[in-house]
Every structure is written in structure tokens, then in C-alpha cells.
């Protein structure tokens, strides 16, 4: 189905006010933010104020920048209110925008056409009510967070990526399993269980992912709905301006440039989480990626892959800290899967969540984690892993119990890992170690 027709149908559904909520599922990079900005503009054009809920401050600021540009062009009088916690220093990219007001107090933003904040901040706003709300990254939001702010609005558009990480809790309890309002579930899961008749739309085209990623990402993480890449195979190209030297690091980068994927496989070994060799391998890949001054072509437009267009990902925070230390002064984004959600880069390098592990826990098997790491790139994705993950998977099939009355989560993390790994093995470069 045509992407424009889907967007038109979503907006028609929303503005018809026939439903209290409209849900939009979006694969990675399918124009979610564009949809949010457009919906906000269309609601604002009717003269009604709208509240926007995002999950992290980065997401809020990204949206503020885009809203500011869109509203500056279409509705010059409209003010975008950025509600923040007290003591929040607005980042530079927001500071200069004339149609944006930043405040910690909702009352000071009463005149704003669009008011935007994180869910955590919205939970503390009292005594204000909006007819319209847009909830961005709604699959990342835990349902108890939605409970806290749902009485602030009448109707809402919920936008999110069902393939990404589920919200989580440090508490391990089966107490609420199967309840329609299980607070451990995502906001959308609870919303749809309590309101099964709400319309659910799907954005069909990923504008971010290259053609080389379409097949495997869609097969592994969106097995029933699927999506297609907006770019044909010849429209994206990654090229290095500096020559390769002999060695596995450059061989892996060349493979990634050629095919869009590379797996740099280290010798099998059980390691601690901050596996020094794997960290060094990720760092070396990233440094070479910067040194070799890649050029990324998208359609007719070629740009250098500067460090800010590169992301390095890992599953755990201590791994991220170790990677940051190893990368020192290379100004690339290094973060956990949780915090890379919703971000976009030209090239990503990540440490496989199961690398060097002796067991595969539910955390490490979670499909969403792998999906985030494997779907941030416009050009290529390089994975570093210890050998032996296939065997590890075979020894640890998912053993999570199935609970009565609880919708089964798809895709299954174990199956997604197998699919992904089978694909990566076709792009494997074996490292002999340091």
C-alpha cells in the first residue's frame, strides 16, 4: 500500500473523532516523527491545542526541532511549548528557535499551540486538559505511565515501533500476569486489550533501512506484517576514500560497505560482560571507519560519514562505559540499545548481546534489543561477536512460561536471533584475535 495513502487514512481516522484513540505501528525509520509533526500541524490548523508525549528528553528535543521548522513555515504565530523539569538546560539546537518556549511550569506555556514533554514530566502536570494528544514511541512506554497521564486528554494518536524494546521493570513479579491492565506491559498493549476496537494502522515503508536490510530485519522482527525499504538496492552506497590495509578490521569494513552487513567473529570464549578483546575489536573497527573517511551516497546525494553519523551499541551499561573508554576521543555516539531507540545513523557497529556468554537469558534473547541494534543504520551495520552463539542458542531455547490470558509476544527472541545470525554468517570475517 502506498505510504501517502496510509498517512492520509491515519489522519482521517484521527480527525474524524470517531475513536478515542488511533494506533500506528511503524517499522524502523518509517516516518514516525514526520507523521507526529504532520498530525500536530493538522490538529493545530483546526485551532485546537495539542499535547505531545515522548519518552526521553532526546526524543522530545528531536521533535521540538522538527515541529519548529514545520510550524515556522505553516503557522507562524503558533508557539511550541517545551515542558521540562526544573533546572533543565535546553540544548543548543533548541536555544535559537524563536517559536519555542521552554519552561518547567505548564501554566507558563498555557498559550502554546503544541505542548511537548516526556511522559515522566507529564505525569506531574495537574489541572490541565487537552482535547488532543499524540503519544510518540508508545511501545516504549510502560502502561502505568500512560495510566498517570491518560486523564489529561480526550483523544490520542499512539505512534510506535512494536519491534523495539519492551518497557521493563526491575521488579520480577507474576502478580499481574494476564490482567488487561498489567502495568509491566507496554502502553499500547494495555490500550488495545482494553479497547480492542481501536483502529490500528501500519506504516509500510522504511525510509531509513537500505535494501540490504529489508529482507532480514523484516523476516526476523516483523515476520507477520513486514515492510519494504524506500530505497532500491542501487540508491545507497558506502565507499571509503582511504585505502584498506591488510587485516581483519578493514576486511570487515569492506564487507559491510559491499553488502550492508558484516560480522567480525572473534574466537569462541566465555568472557565477562566487558570482554576486553571484543571491546578492543569494536573500538578498532570504529576508529578505522572514521580514519578511512567513508562517503555515504543516498540517491544522488553523497555525504561524508562523519563521527556523528556513526553509532556504537551494546546491551549493557558497563559495556557501553568500557567502549566509551576504549574509544576515548572519537566523538561517535556510544550507547545501550535502550538509549539508541529512535535514533538514526549512517553506519552502526555493535557488540552482539550474546557474545562470549555462557547462557542466554530472556534479557539477552529479547528480540527488541537485537532489533534496535540492527536497524539504526542507513548504509551498513557491523557486528562484533564471539564464535559459538549458534551453539549457545541451541543450548538455551526460550523457556519462558506461557501465562493464561496473556497475549503471546511475537516475534520470539530466540527465533529472531537465529534468523539474524544465519544472515550475518554470510558476511562473516573471522578474526584470529588481537
Amino acid at each position: 500500500m502506498n505510504a501517502d495513502r496510509v498517512t492520509a487514512a491515519i489522519l482521517a481516522d484521527l480527525l474524524s473523532a470517531r475513536h478515542s484513540g488511533v494506533v500506528v505501528d511503524s517499522p524502523p525509520g518509517a516516518g514516525k516523527s514526520t507523521l507526529v509533526v504532520r498530525a500536530a500541524a493538522e490538529i493545530a490548523a483546526t485551532g485546537e491545542p495539542v499535547m505531545i508525549v515522548a519518552q526521553t528528553n532526546e526524543q522530545v528535543d528531536d521533535l521540538v526541532v522538527r515541529l519548529s521548522a514545520r510550524f515556522g513555515a505553516d503557522l507562524p504565530d503558533a508557539v511550541i511549548g517545551r515542558l521540562s523539569r526544573a533546572g533543565f538546560g535546553a540544548p543548543q539546537r533548541i536555544g535559537g528557535l524563536t517559536n519555542v518556549a521552554v519552561s518547567a511550569d505548564a501554566a507558563e506555556l498555557a498559550h502554546a499551540t503544541v505542548t511537548i514533554a516526556t511522559a515522566a514530566k507529564w505525569a506531574h502536570v495537574r489541572d490541565r486538559h487537552w482535547r488532543w494528544a499524540i503519544v510518540d514511541e508508545a511501545y516504549q512506554m510502560r502502561s502505568d505511565a500512560l495510566l498517570g497521564l491518560a486523564s489529561r486528554f480526550d483523544r490520542a494518536l499512539f505512534v510506535g515501533d512494536p519491534g523495539q524494546l519492551d518497557p521493563f521493570s526491575t521488579v520480577d513479579s507474576d502478580r499481574w500476569r494476564g490482567l488487561a491492565w498489567d502495568p509491566m506491559q507496554s502502553a499500547v498493549a494495555v490500550l488495545l486489550r482494553n479497547n480492542p476496537h481501536l483502529p490500528v494502522h501500519r506504516l509500510p515503508v522504511s525510509w531509513r533501512l537500505p535494501a540490504s536490510a529489508e529482507g532480514v530485519v523484516s523476516r526476523a522482527f516483523y515476520p507477520f506484517t513486514g515492510f519494504r525499504s524506500g530505497a532500491a538496492a542501487h540508491e545507497r552506497e558506502l565507499r571509503f576514500t582511504a585505502p584498506a590495509t591488510a587485516g581483519r578490521t578493514d576486511a570487515a569494513l569492506d564487507e559491510a560497505a559491499r553488502s550492508g552487513w558484516a560480522l567480525l567473529e572473534l574466537p569462541a570464549r566465555h568472557t565477562i560482560r566487558t570482554d576486553a578483546e571484543a571491546v578492543a575489536a569494536v573500538a578498532a573497527l570504529t576508529r578505522r571507519l572514521v580514519e578511512r573517511r567513508a562517503l555515504a551516497r543516498s540517491g544522488g546525494d553523497a555525504r561524508p560519514v562523519t563521527p556523528d553519523r556513526i553509532a556504537v551499541g551494546a546491551a549493557h551499561r558497563d559495556q557501553v562505559a568500557a567502549l566509551r573508554a576504549a574509544l576515548g576521543d572519537v566523538p561517535v555516539d556510544v550507547d545501550t540499545a535502550n538509549r539508541l531507540q529512535g535514533r538514526e545513523y549512517d553506519v552502526t557497529v555493535f557488540l552482539h548481546p550474546l557474545s562470549g556468554r555462557r547462557d542466554a537469558t530472556a534479557f539477552h534473547l529479547e528480540a527488541g534489543r537485537l532489533c534496535v541494534l540492527a536497524s539504526r543504520h542507513r548504509q551498513a551495520c557491523v557486528v562484533v561477536a564471539r564464535a559459538g552463539i549458534r551453539d549457545l542458542l541451541d543450548e538455551h531455547p526460550s523457556t519462558e512460561p506461557v501465562h493464561l490470558n496473556e497475549p503471546v509476544r511475537f516475534p520470539d527472541g530466540w527465533a529472531a536471533h537465529q534468523t539474524m545470525l544465519a544472515h550475518l554468517e554470510e558476511h562473516r570475517v573471522r578474526s584470529t584475535g588481537p
Binding site: 495537574r126 495510566l147 490482567l179 502495568p183 494495555v190
Partner: protein
């Protein structure tokens, strides 16, 4: 499993004895706990079979259900159990202390069961009895639903991180010792105690292997040994059934006594193990925050007692949308507090955080004591800088808040982390604990050469987000709940 626990497990295998993973006791232990060893009938959902209960090793009380499939006998058993448990609970309802304008009992009941399955069994028993009616067609004794409510209270407390109101002994032991077996095997009380305190001349592994023989160490319940079920229990119950059908009261009593004797044989070894495990735990000195956590248990006990006495309804069958969100937020906060407090109490717990880079110990190398910066209002405030050199792997980013174990009233914010030769240098900006003077008084800022251990595992101080009232549950979560209408006929 933390690196410290993994390492201790390897050492346990190597040395043949469980290794300590705590230097202090992290659970409160009552001087007079109620030890309760329940047994259930195999193949029936939560059908009680027997229980051994008491507050002293020499004063055990054995309760049995001679025919566990007979519901009347089951409820007689529950009433007997209530006779044993409720006086114990009520014995703590006399001494009151006044704390911050509220009354709190100075003591509270503490129930100990052998393992996590025992906790689940009591939770289900509470659930199946707290709604029973004392009138109508199938009345039960008045203390049956009351016991159900107290068992439910205890089981809900057991979900609370750090609570000691209802403890599984295997869990409490696993918090302090690492055995050389898997966490699943650690649910076997006899095996765990074999690892921790093997009999003379045996290694822990041998003692644990011996503990797997059900004829020597019957399972600690609630599930019984299938061999015992088939060879001993079933014939005994059949004999009882025959006596009820055909014989007089004397023969019935004899058949019942026979069942009691075989079940006593199954329960007594576990009963002795319970007290032995308790003695091992008691030998450890309590951690500094244990008393605070027990005070929270006492406050919860006081609150629930007031609820019961005030005629409040039994706990609901399930949490509503608002109640579950509220409970989840509370549990998360309590878990954070518990994790932070445990690390402050115990250098071995802290060591696990030092391994992951969430905490570090080191020596102060430089101090900028007189540093002042302007706060958000433009007022100059003391913000000294200290740099700590450590050999630990530090994985903390700038902006992370840390607190030193020996200086709890002061927060440090990580400014930068760099490595010099073989040490990592962490520079912290300090805040708090310096009074209001222009220059921080001596001793309020660490000195050069002072050895400090900073941890980033802290309880967050972000207030819980406000949630709507139950009757204002929004449409996204199913709207306000419909009040429950009890069925008019009991049991239908």
C-alpha cells in the same frame, strides 16, 4: 548472578564447602519466629496434607489431614492451623511505640518456611480461605477466613524486597552463602545445609548428594516424595477410609494416628534442619539497615491489624489498574532502596558493584576544598572537587551521582574519569554535608590520603508519579472498575 557470587560458587566446588557471600546478616531474625513446614497432597491443587508448626525446636505441633480429598477435613485442618498461627500473630499486638505521630507495634510475627514453594503454598492457601463464609450452606470456622487474610498479608509482604515477615529459609541462606550447586538445587534445604555445614568427615558436595536420598532426608515440602506417597501414604489413607466406612471410632483414631506417625517421619528431619539453618544465620551480625527494614515490616503489620480490627474487607482477588500500577511503583522503589542499603551494609555486596564498575574504592589524591560555584539562583555555594585514584574498573559517565560508604550525607557528581599509569582517576564535585559556612569546616570534605569507597547504586529520590483515584481509572485502562457483586450462593 554477580561476579562475586559466581566466583564464590567456583570456590565452593573447589573447596567442597559453601563460601560466604555476605559479611553481615541482611535479614531480620525474630527471637521467637514461627517455623512452619507445610506438606501438600500430590495431584491435587493446593490440598494441604500436613504441617509442623511451632516457635521452639522442642515444641512442635503436628497437624494432618487424614483424607486430604475430603473438604470438611481440609477446613478442619485450616482451623487447627489458625489455632496455631493466629495466637502467635496476636501476641505481637500489645506493645506499641509512637513514631512520628503514628503508632507501631514493637514486634511483629515472622514466619519461616523451608523454601520458595512453601511461600507460594501459603499464598494459595490464603487465597483459597480468605473469602470463605462462616454462614450459609457450607460454613467454615470463623478463624479460617481470618487465617486466610493473615496468610495473604504475609505472602504479599514476602513479595516486598527486604521484608522478613515471611521468609523461605533456602532463600535467606542463599543470600549469605554460595554453594557449589545450581540455584535450582539450592531450593533443597537439606542440600544447602549440607554445603554450608557438612557433617564431620564429609565434603559439602557429598553431604548434598546424601541429602538427595529421600529415605534419609525427605523433601522439605510442600511436595512429598513420590515413593513415600505410593508405598506409605496411599495405604495409610486407604486404611483410614476403610475405618471410617466400616469401623468404630477407636479404629478410626488408630488409623489417624498411623497417618500422623508416617507424616511426622517425613516432617521431623526438615523441622530440625529449619532450626539448624536458623542458628547458622543467627551467628552472623545483623547489617546496619536490617532494623529499618524490620521497622517497615512492623509498620505494615500494624496497618493491616488496624484494617482487620476496623472491619476492613479481605484483600481483593486481583489488583485493579490503579492498584497494580501503584504497587509496581512501590515495589520498584523498595527494591532500589534494598539494593542500595545492602551494598552500604556489606563490603562483599559492594565488591560485586566494584567488579561491574558501578562502585570504586580508592585514595584521595587531590582536593580543591575552597571551590565555590554559583547555583541556579546565582548564589555562590561550596562545591569542592576531590580526585580519587583507584585500581577498580570504573564505568561511570560524567554526571553520575555517587555516595561514599563512610560519608553518606554527601553526594558526589562525577566530573571526569581518566587513567594515569595503572590507576583510574575519578574527579567528583561534592555537595551537601558541609554546613552553611563559606568555607567547609574541617572534616566535612575528604582529605588527601583518605581511603573512600564510592557507589553509584543509590535509591532514587524521584517522587512516584501521581496516579488517578480508582474511580477515575481512564478509558485506556478499562475505565472505573465495576464493584464486585458476591454470588448469593456460597461456592456457586
Amino acid at each position: 548472578m554477580t561476579a562475586v557470587v559466581s566466583f564464590a560458587r567456583v570456590r565452593a566446588v573447589k573447596t567442597g564447602r559453601a563460601q560466604p557471600i555476605a559479611t553481615v546478616r541482611h535479614v531480620h531474625l525474630s527471637p521467637r519466629p514461627l517455623v512452619l513446614v507445610p506438606l501438600a497432597l500430590a495431584g491435587e491443587a493446593n490440598a494441604p496434607l500436613a504441617a509442623m508448626v511451632g516457635t521452639h525446636p522442642d515444641d512442635d505441633r503436628l497437624l494432618v489431614v487424614p483424607q486430604p480429598r475430603n473438604r470438611d477435613l481440609r477446613f478442619t485442618f485450616v482451623a487447627d492451623l489458625a489455632d496455631a498461627v493466629l495466637p502467635y500473630v496476636h501476641s505481637y499486638c500489645y506493645d506499641i511505640e509512637h513514631v512520628r505521630g503514628r503508632d507501631r507495634f514493637t514486634g511483629a510475627p515472622q514466619v519461616l518456611v523451608p523454601n520458595a514453594a512453601g511461600v507460594r503454598f501459603l499464598a494459595l492457601l490464603g487465597r483459597s480461605t480468605r473469602f470463605r463464609r462462616t454462614d450459609g450452606d457450607y460454613p467454615v470456622a470463623p478463624n479460617v477466613p481470618l487465617l486466610g487474610r493473615w496468610l495473604t498479608f504475609l505472602a504479599e509482604r514476602a513479595e516486598t524486597p527486604g521484608s522478613a515477615a515471611l521468609l523461605a529459609l533456602t532463600d535467606a541462606l542463599a543470600l549469605h552463602w554460595a554453594s557449589g550447586q545450581s540455584p535450582v538445587e539450592d531450593q533443597n534445604l537439606a542440600a544447602v545445609l549440607g554445603w554450608i555445614d557438612p557433617p564431620e568427615g564429609l565434603s559439602g558436595a557429598d553431604a548434598a548428594r546424601a541429602a538427595e536420598d529421600p529415605s534419609v532426608w525427605p523433601p522439605a515440602g510442600p511436595t512429598t516424595d513420590p515413593g513415600f506417597d505410593a508405598d506409605v501414604l496411599v495405604p495409610a489413607i486407604r486404611a483410614y477410609d476403610r475405618a471410617v466406612e466400616t469401623a468404630g471410632p477407636v479404629a478410626q483414631r488408630r488409623a489417624r494416628t498411623a497417618i500422623e506417625e508416617v507424616l511426622r517421619g517425613q516432617l521431623e528431619p526438615t523441622w530440625r534442619l529449619m532450626w539448624r539453618g536458623l542458628d547458622l544465620l543467627r551467628a552472623l551480625p545483623p547489617g546496619a539497615s536490617v532494623a529499618d527494614r524490620w521497622a517497615a515490616d512492623r509498620a505494615a503489620f500494624t496497618g493491616f491489624r488496624e484494617h482487620v480490627v476496623g472491619g476492613g474487607p479481605p484483600q481483593g482477588r486481583r489488583d485493579g489498574a490503579v492498584a497494580s500500577a501503584r504497587r509496581l511503583n512501590r515495589l520498584e522503589r523498595q527494591l532500589d532502596e534494598y539494593e542500595a542499603a545492602r551494598a552500604f551494609d556489606d563490603p562483599l555486596v559492594l565488591a560485586a558493584h566494584r567488579v561491574t564498575g558501578a562502585a570504586f574504592a580508592g585514595t584521595v589524591v587531590t582536593v580543591d576544598r575552597d571551590r565555590r560555584v554559583e547555583n541556579a539562583n546565582g548564589t555562590p555555594v561550596n562545591r569542592p572537587l576531590v580526585t580519587v585514584a583507584t585500581a577498580d574498573p570504573v564505568h561511570l559517565g560524567p554526571g553520575t551521582e555517587v555516595v561514599a560508604v563512610s560519608r553518606r550525607n554527601q553526594t558526589g557528581t562525577v566530573q571526569c574519569v581518566g587513567s594515569i599509569v595503572d590507576k583510574t582517576h575519578v574527579t567528583l564535585e561534592l555537595r551537601g554535608g558541609m554546613g552553611r559556612a563559606r568555607v567547609p569546616p574541617p572534616g566535612t570534605v575528604p582529605d588527601v590520603g583518605e581511603r573512600l569507597c564510592y557507589t553509584s547504586v543509590l535509591a532514587g529520590n524521584v517522587p512516584a508519579p501521581p496516579l488517578p483515584d480508582t474511580e477515575r481509572t481512564p478509558w485506556t485502562h478499562g475505565g472505573p472498575p465495576v464493584p464486585y457483586e458476591p454470588p448469593t450462593e456460597d461456592g456457586t
